[in-house]
Amino acid sequence: MNSPVYLDHAATTPVDPRVAAAMAGCLTADGVFGNPASSAHAHGEAAFERVEAARAAVAAAVGAEPDEVVFTSGATEADNLAIFGATAHSQPRGRHVITARTEHKAVLDPCRELERRGWQVTYLTPDGHGRVEPDRLAAALRADTVLVSLMHVNNEIGTVQDVAAFAAVCERHRGVRLHVDAAQSIGKTEFDFHACGADLVSLSAHKSYGPKGVGALLVSRRSGVRIEPRQFGGGQERGLRSGTVATHQVVGMAAAFTLVVAERPAEGVRLAALRERLWLGLEAHGGAVRNGAPEGTVPAILNVSFDGVEGESLLAAVAPRISVSTGSACTSASGDPSYVLRALGRDDRLAEASLRFGLGRSTSLDDVEAAIEAVGRALARLRRIGGACATAR
């Protein structure tokens, strides 16, 4: 059997060969392998310079200053650092946080943990397309609100939110801090740290053709936001995140971000066309419901619910031909229907019987046609086995 067509780029992307080459240059004895903290000698200095060049490149790619970049092991760590780090600092001023029901678990689970510690958390329900209306945010703000955490691009349906509007609301509300999970943004849509007005932004490399296991938290200097560190030790990253900085990882992140940002305009147009072809093809199979407004979502993500089939079987039936998922990689193992789609008002059956197509660099028109055909066959077969024609539709 041929290996299936990869259409799960929102879960993770292959590392760009140019990125892999840059990483390889920071590993072995003939490369820059020193410890960037070993400032006493040339091996350490060389690594330090690579790390700082990477920091500058990441900053440039996202419209930040180099000293606003705190490298982490990924967006999960960045989300945790932002949420616990910002709330630890502002605890005296209040113990209320606002987020949305459609956030990634790396935001929701820290919020749940805050609740266990006695904090109050408001979970906003977005509109049917996954957008939190700024007015709703404004209405939820309280005198004791210290942090708002709302994502930029949703990982399941690709909805792009108006972060600048959130920032304006927070700004008016005596400067409550805004954290934005932008793990899915870089290379998928435009993102500019300073322009968006957020205080804290989480990034991940592996959604943008960089390596897994590295990300960053952007910490706004202009806004003067303060966070408490969570990982203590050697004092790396200006004391905000101790632990040896992995040169090859941050170099990979920098190379990947630089490439995807440069290539995004053209790639966005290409993927948007492929996505619309994919949607038309899927729609023709009948009983398909598109999740997320076409104009308000990134071109790289298409999320569709299918009537008359059970979700797990749909996924299993298409798996030999295409690699897709029902939702985020983190929740697809649990088999629960997507909490994101349920938050948008889909019933359990439709939420469960949904596929997230994550288009990416390698995606060709052939891949899209193969996906349309594979889903069509699976639907026909499962609907027949399920007696859907006779009973359900």
């Binding site: 089939v309 059970e310 797990e312 079987s313 996924l315 299993a316 039936a317 193992a333 088999g335 019933d347 359990d348 059956r349 469960e352 077969r381 027949r384 086995i385 399920g386 007696g387 859907a388 006779a390 009973t391 359900a392």
Partner: protein, 123 residues
């Protein structure tokens, strides 16, 4: 989800999927689509006097996860030649082991069993 080879095989081939029509067909269903699992069996039986009715042919329909479909398909396939009985060709627990069904899905196998019993009870 990882599926055993047996599960994958019966999920993919789904032998005996469909319905049977005509007089004397025993039909039974259980579960609910809106709760995620629904199964139906149709059995064609033949019985001479003084001999217990024997299943000649079985068909199933299933809306559910791959384990549910695979097990229902296997049951329908095995049924032919067996006497009509409330018992599945293999007890639920044995099926669970053969098809490597996670414990938390036990409820779904009970839907298969219920559907089978409902069909057999029509006799």
């Amino acid at each position: 989800m990882r599926y055993s080879a047996l599960t994958r095989r019966y999920f993919e081939a789904a032998p005996c999927a469909g319905t049977l029509e005509g007089p004397g067909i025993l039909s039974g269903a259980a579960g609910s689509r809106s709760l995620g699992t629904w199964v139906r069996f149709d059995l064609r039986v033949a019985g001479a006097a003084n001999r217990p009715a024997v299943i000649v042919e079985a068909r199933f329909l299933a809306f559910g996860c791959p384990h549910t479909i695979a097990v229902a398909a296997w049951v329908a396939e095995q049924a032919a030649g067996h006497p009509v009985s409330a018992e599945l060709p293999q007890p639920v627990d044995a099926l669970r082991r053969s098809f490597d069904v996670p414990v938390e899905k036990l409820g779904r196998l009970l839907v298969v069993e219920d559907a089978w019993r409902a069909a057999a009870a029509r006799k």
